[in-house]
Symmetry: C2
Subunit: 232 residues, 2 copies
């Protein structure tokens, strides 16, 4: 290809600029006492269903909100609105990932101190979002039991830039012939020691341990949401 | 973000260069009489399983080969080698799509006239591959019944740049509560009249009508593979 060097240079400049915006966002989030969690995965891994379940289960006890990214449609924001939490859609057009500046623009007018948790659902993509810091405290990478156990090996960067892996749609494990040991070995190979949760947004399986983990993480960051022990 | 204009300019230059390489590839494919089919989808939609099934079913009657793209690993090439067809892996590192130049390099040394069909499996991604012509005759976009019926609405560009939609993993339709009418409505909304095939690489459901379609398309392009009518 022509101009590969020039493309890399421009990309690095964009990334550096993104990092500056992300750093400023992180400071704002910290000042406001909001714990920010981002979700990345393939299209169709169940980010929105998982997020809807999280919002619905957390909302009676915490102040939660979400931004959802897609190339087109506000389908996800409309779905998530059923949780009664404030949700805004970011449409990226042809851009394959969220950038910090899109998050900055999307939270305009929100008083961040009114949230305990803010969730950022990225565009469905296992490549591009890896490179863009959004100022989040915790990045979750989801992969569903339907996708194939070697996804971590094929998309190592996104697993390396995430903090926690969520194996989603665990209710379909048997129907798909999901090989749990192989999936865990794949994760361990690219990110030794990575914490893994198995969940089903449909049945609720695994939500309780995950939400307990999430709130304990948030508490350690001095987020304002204090849940009664064992309640979540 | 800083420099968006510059980024767009560079991207357009890269795309233009890609189009030139793709055009040259298309001429080579045509001269050699090989019919080239590319596959795009999310990670985990079943491109490799579908391709393995196609190679296995076509191989006794046609001369078939494949290139498979991934960021990392040669897992797919090793899987596809079970079909006994010649297969080469392209690893893209951090690049979220195949480019025509990668295809050009990967076929180096192959006598293209020895193939009736060449398959190009793209990196799993519903965004980036849309912009890159690979010189193929036919582009298939897969989406599995596990992914959600509104994927075409959320990723319209990739559906618009593809020729045919494949609904994969149809054997899981019931377990997932797949809403066929909704999925077809979504496809029709972004690409009116798009031809759709429902398949299961696992059970073989739907393979026969799809392979009949494929070989009839190839024949109309004067590919050398002439299958006995009704055999595929």
């Amino acid at each position: 290809m022509a101009s590969p060097t020039r493309l890399v240079e421009v990309r690095q400049k964009v990334l550096k600029q993104n990092d500056l915006v992300a750093r400023a966002l992180r400071e704002r989030f910290q000042e406001a006492g909001v714990y920010v969690v981002s979700l990345v995965s393939s299209p169709g891994s169940g980010k929105t269903a998982f997020l809807e379940r999280m919002l619905t289960e957390l909302r009676p006890r915490c102040r939660v909100g979400a931004l959802v990214g897609d190339l087109a449609t506000d389908n996800d924001a409309r779905r998530l609105a059923r949780s009664q939490a404030p949700v805004r859609q970011i449409t990226t057009g042809t851009v394959c990932h969220l950038e910090a500046d899109m998050v900055r623009a999307a939270i305009d007018g929100w008083d961040l101190s009114e949230f305990d948790f803010l969730f950022l659902e990225n565009v469905g993509n296992l490549v591009c979002p890896a490179s863009y810091d959004l100022g989040e405290n915790l990045r979750l990478v989801l992969f569903s039991v339907t996708e194939g156990e070697d996804k971590p090996l094929k998309y190592p960067t996104i697993f390396n830039t995430a903090d926690v892996a969520i194996v989603s749609k665990i209710d379909l494990a048997e129907a798909c012939g999901f090989d749990r040991a192989s999936a865990l070995t794949s994760i361990e190979a690219v990110r030794p020691g990575m914490q893994v949760f198995e969940v089903s947004a449909k049945t609720g399986h695994g939500m309780e341990p995950f939400l307990s983990f999430l709130t304990s993480q948030a508490s350690s960051k001095k987020a304002r949401c204090q849940l009664a022990e064992g309640r979540v």
